[in-house]
């Protein structure tokens, strides 16, 4: 109760509200996964093997960073930084992460088959989902500070 009051006072006043920890990692993970579509497309266009390599690493790194974001989201919830879950964003991100997980396995195939056709389709689809979700802010939850301000 006391913490709540402080938070309220903090946001009404000019003191800085406690930021959501997961947002930066979510944005970084999303960007890496979208970048994998760009490198997939470049491989598709040029057949230069290094682009397929980049895609495999980008998807792996994107999934790791996104996983860290999920852990931070739980911390945000546990420490009272996060308020209500942003349901539509959460569904979009979850779907994109699942598709990217499958895509990590598709990208473990060798040469052309690692990207064409399934790999690039999966990275295109997850990029679209991520861009829609990202457009409403790289966040899976409403900040409690914002929520209490309403």
């Amino acid at each position: 109760m006391r913490r709540r009051d402080e938070q309220l006072r903090g946001s009404i006043g000019h003191a800085r509200p406690r930021p959501l920890l997961h947002r930066g990692f979510l944005a970084a993970g999303g960007v890496l996964l979208i970048a994998a579509f760009v490198t997939d497309y470049t491989y598709y266009a040029t057949a230069l093997w290094q682009w397929a390599n980049f895609s495999a690493w980008l998807i792996t790194a994107g999934l790791i960073v996104t996983f860290i974001a999920v852990i931070l989201l739980l911390i945000d919830a546990a420490t009272g930084r996060a308020g209500r879950l942003n349901t539509s964003s959460f569904i979009l991100f979850a779907a994109a992460a699942l598709l990217s997980l499958v895509n990590a396995f598709v990208h473990s195939r060798d040469a052309w088959a690692s990207v064409v056709p399934q790999g690039i389709l999966l990275s295109a689809l997850s990029s679209v989902l991520l861009l829609i979700a990202g457009a409403s802010g790289w966040s899976l939850a409403i900040s409690r500070a914002t929520e209490t301000n309403k």
Binding site: A47, W49, A56, R109, D110, L125
Partner: protein, 440 residues
Amino acid sequence: MRTTSPRPIAALLSVVALAACNSKGGDPDRQYGPNPYLPEPRAYLMPPMSVPKAVGWKAGETPTASAGLKVEALATGLEHPRTLYTLPNGDILVVETNSPGTEPFRPKDFIAGKVKARAGAGAKGGNRITLLRDANGDGQPELRTVFVDHLYSPYGIVLVGDTLYVADTDAIIAFNYAPGMTQITSPGVKLADLPAGRLDHHWTKSMTASADGSKLYVGVGSNSNITENGMDVEAGRAAIYEVDRLTGAKRIFASGTRNPTGVAFEPETQQLFAVVNERDEIGPDLVPDYLTSIREGGFYGWPYSYWGSHVDVRVHPQRPDLVAQAIKPDYALSSHVAPLSLLFSEGQHLSPGFAKGVFISEHGSWDRSPLNGYQVIFVSFIDGRPVGKPIPVVTGFLGEDNETVHGRPVGLALDRSGALLIADDVGNTVWRVSATQPRT
């Protein structure tokens, strides 16, 4: 206009379907000989794997020989023995070696490294050649010395006249040799460079010499499974080289042989033969590894196609012009057995059944379930051509549970008495297989 289902959706549905399908390999019996059964290639999210755990041999344990033969350990405690070679005076050379080591390129490579370590393929090689002398032929060497040390992932070895040629992964090195020598101390002289480089995926350089000793033949493996490391690094690879013994001048004798791990001349016809390890990850029954005669200038398909004109869609851009030229190999050994060495028999020392033909060591699969290989087989020859089904000669390298592996056969040689020697790079042993009743 006819309507078709949109291809992107079909492709995505197939991803889901793949996750659920059964991927057990069939009976290897369908894949022996000149016309193997070839199923449709498949793409996987996770290629089927079955990796037996390397446990080695306990005291007294040995592989199992076929009827009329017995197996004993000739030498133990070696450092990843791969190639065997018998010198004219009966001394036996054991090449102890392994890959020079490569850095991971893709996330997948980390997992591949773990798999290799479990199967016992990750052990460090001795980078040396050990000499064993068993002068009285009782199967107990009286002398064991380090013959040549400080080599660089050596593999092939052949003596021509008074020169011993050793194929390191990056060059052929020539050493002066005199009969009876137990140690070579003089530094070798480089005869010719061989394709190696930073990646050096299939690193072994198998080697043999023509009967007149004028030419050396060297098997050079591809730098990838199926060009996933780019085409640039495949220049001059997946080929069999002919090297002039006096000048070191070399040329590609045949190409498209993905990983020609053993080369040898058939004694009757003096025809060059090779065993070749084919590509992975398109199914447990694709692609059969093979034994084939090697034609000068011949192209055997890799990477564009397999078993003649079966196109591999993983290679891009494709080359229909080369696929049209691809030679169908002579004799399939079934899929993923990993043949590593071939040795033509020299008469009926072991058994009348092994008078004419070739012994082949099968290192064994890990990208197939059930496991395949892990044995030494014999393929009979008539008129210089392989015929019939392979006959198992030595088995029992796998544990009875099919989940542990005691040893994996690699190099083969005949000792002075005609006994078959087998290098085992997991058991770190050289096995000697001889007839239970001495033949006269």
